[in-house]
Symmetry: C2
Subunit: 439 residues, 2 copies
């Protein structure tokens, strides 16, 4: 059984992926040129017993999205990759289809896994050249095999593997060994240790000329299917293809334990928290605050853009930024934040990552009027809007500060707004949305 | 040069470490019995270029404490370990001494590292039997060698390594290989892959009879000192000692990359967030809220104890818990929270980990009086106390809720208090202390 979610045999147009998405990689998508068809097979049938979690690790969720969706996204934003075959266990099929629909993944074909890793990979490889009913498909020139649980592979490395595979027939990522490798005696004693410099850890991705990996699987034995672990080895043994080995970056690491999920989450959060955009509304007081925030948040390693509104050219920020700070000096905050929310929803901006909006209410009057009065004495309104926004993956927080004429007090308040804003943006805590904090 | 911070030749009394500290391990300290002297050498001279950070990774900080202090603490709370020799590069000596003083580490001796890992370890080993001036010290029977960047080793595993070392002369931790190990040709092609089942990754800790490791270092060559990586190998080659290999848990993993620091932080945060203690003050309304919180936070995987005060037997909570929720239904919150702060400070409770206090103000009146009025119209007072507490590593947050007679509204408020409390406890965000949140 196969279910398609995209037209897999037709090349997808380059530039299909927005520049904003590409920013999540260190490299802008589409800079590498590949003029032959490339497909990916992602075995995702593992049970994940090593994470210590009930859910297989590829389906574990952080920032509201399962790990496998991050990995799929990584390949989807590479314009020269035409299709992605995800191989899942029968019992995960519905879950996988749901993920694909929910996060609008295109280019993806889902097939059933086999009883071992090699059988699953072969199912995925075969699905690229023949349909379920046996009809022929236009097979790719090169197929990349990757793990669903290595979400951070970068386009330039995929390009290296793909080009080397096309030239040599096969190519694979390697990494230096982290620990000394030792051979043990049957009784559990040290036999000898390997010389670390002569060996490498074999990692993913690996790339193959389609016919090489297909033939290797057709020729290999039942025992290879059962106990083999290394695709490169099958290509060597059954097709005489010596794989080119390429040293990959540490980001190729595999999410194996529960702690790795925390590490993956921290990497995504850090990437989302590199910059923020302050919208002033144009008033002098708001602009003064925004400029001060730019300095203070800059010192906390967050790059801040200051703009007066989201009209015209400035509207680009909506499809570029993950974090917005809206400064209000009057009572009409609801309309400003409401407009931003609508614009983000129309752009489907928060589909893949939660977007943060911080509403900063600057109280410039001398009396004791507060933000809750500015909101018509109804802090519940803020909570209500935030609750609605959260359903759309937008996290709304509020910060209130008084405009003090005393420089030290003012400086301290601005510093606090900067610190809280950075913390809210980095933590992305859903439980604290709708709160109005005091600076 | 050597600097001592404890009396390293005298056994430390068992029970020296509080039960609360032991709770951070999965095992209660002191359950294993060892009737011979054991010492630890922690090489910590690495430059940490792989983390991508300027600070060597053993000195990188999370939750206000450097990684190496977590590792030292792990050994310090094992009663049968007498002394810990930390070997640091000359330029890190002042930093190391500062860490030892700041976090009240005892049992620690700091020595200078050599130009390679083996030279550093030998310096540490030698310092256990001879003082800087050449005077003899009472050497331990067994020495454990560990990495400063593996903070989560557990007592029962240290016990296994120690006992096996005493019996066999040497013992080391092993783990299954995560990746296939391959041999490469000089030209960068696949030569062959190793059969994964026959090999293991050699990890730390390793244990040795003191004389074995000492002699191995005395006999080994300059080339061993320069290029060798494996202490077990030296013991085999120069003392004929075949090390016993023991499979260790995944927690032995080594903090290598920046993402590993995030993983380590998440492990510590999770351990600190397993339970909380609600103090009601005894009133019926506060008790009702506390019981509701117990249920709701229980559903969010946080175990909640409800007590009426911190007097008598209940005072034990102060040295057992990392998280407190103080419920107030009147105006005297300052005194309640203030007393708790003093008690925690007296007990030096927040020395090693930040303690969270959440003050929950339950407004039971029908009028619109709020927590800020309860605080004498001065929310700044809360911020001031929180700012002071933060200097002592205590994180104070406030949550305000109205006691609604309408069951649905009340249920929703309680649910929100539970969610926010769990989030505040798990995030431990210093930037948000002093805030009064609305439930």
């Amino acid at each position: 059984m196969q279910e398609e979610t995209g037209d897999m045999d037709r090349p997808v147009e380059p530039g299909h992926f927005s520049a904003s998405e590409a920013r999540l990689d260190k490299h802008i998508a589409g800079l590498c040129i590949v003029d032959f068809p490339v497909a990916v097979v992602l075995p995702a049938g593992g049970s994940g017993e090593r994470t210590g979690l009930l859910t297989p690790k590829q389906f574990c969720t952080f920032l509201n999205r399962p790990l496998i969706s991050y990995t799929i996204q990584t390949f989807e934003r590479v314009p020269w990759i035409q299709s992605i075959v995800v191989v899942v266990a029968k019992e995960s099929l519905d879950l996988m289809m749901d993920i694909i629909h929910r996060f609008h993944h295109r280019k993806v074909l889902v097939v059933h896994g086999g009883s071992t890793r090699h059988r699953s990979i072969f199912n995925g490889v075969r699905a690229l050249s023949e349909g379920e009913d046996g009809t022929a498909r236009v097979k790719p020139k090169v197929v990349i095999i990757h793990d669903a649980v290595r979400p951070f592979v970068e386009e330039d490395f995929l390009h290296k593997i793909t080009m080397a595979a096309k030239e040599q027939g096969a190519a694979g990522a390697i990494r230096p060994l982290v620990s000394t490798v030792i051979a043990t005696t049957l009784e559990g004693y040290l036999d000898h240790s390997l010389e670390r410099t002569k060996y490498r850890a074999s990692e993913m991705p690996q790339g193959f000329i389609y016919d090489v990996i297909y033939q290797a699987y057709q020729r290999c034995s039942a025992s290879d299917f059962e106990f083999g672990t290394e695709c490169l080895h099958l290509a060597l043994q059954y097709c005489g293809t010596n794989a080119k080995l390429i040293e990959g970056p540490p980001t190729l690491w595999k999410v194996t334990y529960k702690r790795d999920l925390a590490a993956a989450e921290s990497i995504v959060k850090e990437t989302l928290s590199q910059s923020a955009c302050v919208i002033t509304g144009g008033s002098a007081q708001a602009t003064e605050l925004a400029n001060a925030l730019q300095r203070s948040m800059g010192a906390l390693d967050m790059e801040v853009d200051v703009i007066s509104d989201l009209i015209g050219d400035n509207a680009k920020s909506l499809s570029k930024e993950w974090n917005f700070i809206q400064v209000s000096v009057n009572n009409y905050w609801l309309s400003e934040v409401g407009e931003m929310l609508s614009a983000l929803e129309v752009a489907d901006r928060a589909l893949l990552h939660p977007v943060v909006i911080i509403w900063v209410y600057l109280n410039v009057s001398n009396d004791d009027s507060s933000a809750s009065e500015a909101m018509g004495g109804e802090p519940a309104a803020m909570m209500e809007i935030a609750t609605g926004a959260k359903l759309g993956n937008i996290l709304l927080y509020g910060i209130q500060l008084h405009h003090s004429k005393e420089a030290t007090l003012w400086g301290r308040s601005v510093e606090r707004v900067a610190q809280m804003s950075c913390a809210l943006i980095r933590d992305r805590s859903p439980a604290l949305t709708g709160q109005l904090l005091q600076a």
